[in-house]
């Protein structure tokens, strides 16, 4: 009985924790919409996830306003801009060889906008890979060559975590969940 209670409690905790990613707030979560400050807020360092650090390749770190996204992703900016992206950060990281990760964090101003972006990507990519401890209405993965791309949102923040270098997709999903948790914790 005791075991069952504990199990139930854990389930409830996990559920809340996962759903918490959805959040209840609806306003901008970052302290500022200044791209530089936004980048500093979410930039991952080697101390955030063991074995991972920013890539030394060109364009491995970029921040900009939503209106400047075309610089980074050409015409791919359109879905983000039309859904209200205000500010964005892109960061390329390298992990244990040959693993690599591209992290995208965007502030959409409102939860509704961030949700709209998440839903768009989920449908576009027919994403269906569940991310442990997250509800699929808040985070979902899409299989790619050598890994997984995960899409998620929390309040007004929208996240993409693209992991490659994995022969085992489950391992990639697990690491992606780690990235998401850390990014979430960085939100002020």
């Amino acid at each position: 009985m005791q075991g069952r209670t504990m199990k139930t409690s854990l389930t409830v905790v996990c559920l809340f924790w996962g759903l918490g990613f959805l959040g209840c707030g609806s306003n901008t979560t970052s302290s500022t919409l200044d791209p530089t400050a936004f980048g500093e807020e979410f930039k991952l360092s080697s101390s955030d996830i063991q074995g991972w650090s920013q890539s030394t390749a060109v364009m491995s770190f970029w921040t900009g306003k939503g209106t400047e996204l075309e610089i980074r992703i050409d015409g791919g900016n359109e879905p983000y801009v039309t859904r209200g992206c205000l500010v964005a950060m892109y960061q390329d990281l390298v992990g244990p060889d040959p693993q690599a990760c591209e992290v995208v964090v965007m502030d959409f101003g409102t939860e509704a906008h961030a949700n709209s972006m998440f839903t768009y990507e989920k449908q576009l990519r027919s994403a269906s890979v569940p991310i442990a401890q997250y509800d699929t209405s808040a985070a979902i993965g899409s299989a790619t060559l050598g890994g997984v791309s995960v899409y998620a949102y929390s309040k007004a923040l929208y996240f993409e975590v693209q992991l490659t270098g994995y022969a085992d997709q489950n391992a990639a999903v697990s690491v992606a969940a780690q990235f998401l948790r850390i990014l979430e914790s960085k939100a002020k």
Partner: protein
Amino acid sequence: MQKQRRDFLKITAAGAAGLALARADRAFAAWPSSGSLAVNPTISNMRVVACVDAKMLKTALTSMTFAAENTAVDSARVQANMDAMAMQLANETTADAAWKAIFRSSKPWASTKVAIKVNTIEPKNMARIAVVEKFCKIMAGFGVPGANIVIYDGNTTYGAGISNYTSYFSLTDTTKIQAVVSSYNTGMGGTTKANIPGGSSANCTADIANGVTDILINIANNKGHTLMGKATLSMKNHFGTFAPNHDNTYVFNINKSDAILGGTPVRQQLCFIDSIIANKASNTGTPEVAPCYLVMGVFGPAVDYLTVKKVREEVMGCTHDAATINSYMTTFGYATTDAVWVVVPPASGGTNADGGTGTGGAGGSGSAGGGGASGSGGTRTGGNSATGGAGTGGNSGPGGGNGGTSGSGGARTGGNSATGGSGSGGQVATGGNSATGGADNGGQIATGGSPGSGGIASGGAGGTTAGASSTSGGSPATGGTSARAGSAVSASGGSTGVAQTTGAPSGNSGGGCDIAGGGRKATGWGAMLAFGAVVAEKLRRLVSSDDRSS
């Protein structure tokens, strides 16, 4: 084919005077306001050649860095496939003759300037080094100095990814590819305004706009996009020659411009899609699939249209905005049915055995041929060796899956377009253009292949009767259209079956027809050549009436 003939007649009828008149009427467009412009006088604008070959990847991709991808790619195989594609595109029997038909210059080769446009916005999916290197080798073979060959992506905002190429190229280190990598447009004369149809202008790579570049090779990748009907291919690759402007009309207009299609001969002489790996949904992000396709033609809109229809939709399962995709063709005055899709088998299907002793491919074991009731094509099964495909046949649509890979008895079952008749599987498409499907029997002979690329003689005959699952292949290799004296005929039966993933509705029993004489000895090459010539001619006639895209 009729369209090709029409093209030829159009061109002939127009003549030099007509062409001059048409050009006088243009508004900064090389592409005429009515009629068409032959990019190459000997190659139809509508002809698009593809090759699918899973062996272009030596290992499964895990790391998606540019370097890792290039390490995984079998360069020799890619480049051999490109030769085979060129021969098919130019209808030449040697790669050298084919490339010389494709690439032309009004200047001596030593002073000819060549520009290669790549797309660097997503480093996880850029033109693979093997492809770029091949074009550099071709030009070097013609006598174009390395300093005159420039690889560029001139977009000043996102072109930084070009730096991924620099370590592979050098003009001084002979172990590297002899060509120049331009940082943005610095190696291309900078940026200047270029006129585009409609009277507007836009920033453009100067050497392209000013006609300094004699030969422009457009190497795009297969990616999705939010615009252009949800695909970005060779036409949109000119964002980076011209400044980006995400308006479909703008994309079409820059592809009609003097900068791109001007010059004598026409500057942009080849559009190539490196679709070894591909992005389904977006132009950025990690590629989702590895279709292992190469596609090329002389006319970008046709290349793009058929890449969408035949690779992105049929193979990758992507969906697009049909109206916009159709406008790739109609904007240039063509019907969507005009485009001609020709699939060549992978190169290196057979080894060059001594004359006359080539062996047929291992027996295909066509299996599981089933009716294409759902309209979906056969699965791309078929193995590496001796396994025929499991494609499903179809009455009229392109049927079944592909068979095994090179040198083995792979067979493409299921009918090819409008063939693959009732109650039976379709055909074999080994070594050659395409075969015609069979009406009451299994597959039949394909046309000949390309010398040195998968065995000259190809086309195992036969297959079995309806729906059979047979382990015996067809007749021995019979020599293809391009068989040459002294070349070996080998592994005919089954160089790689060609992936055809859509089938016809209400299919029939779709016989698992297979091909390739299982281990049989081919006849002596002389006999084969003679027989092949006869067969090939007959088949060419058959095929010529059947090779239009549906």
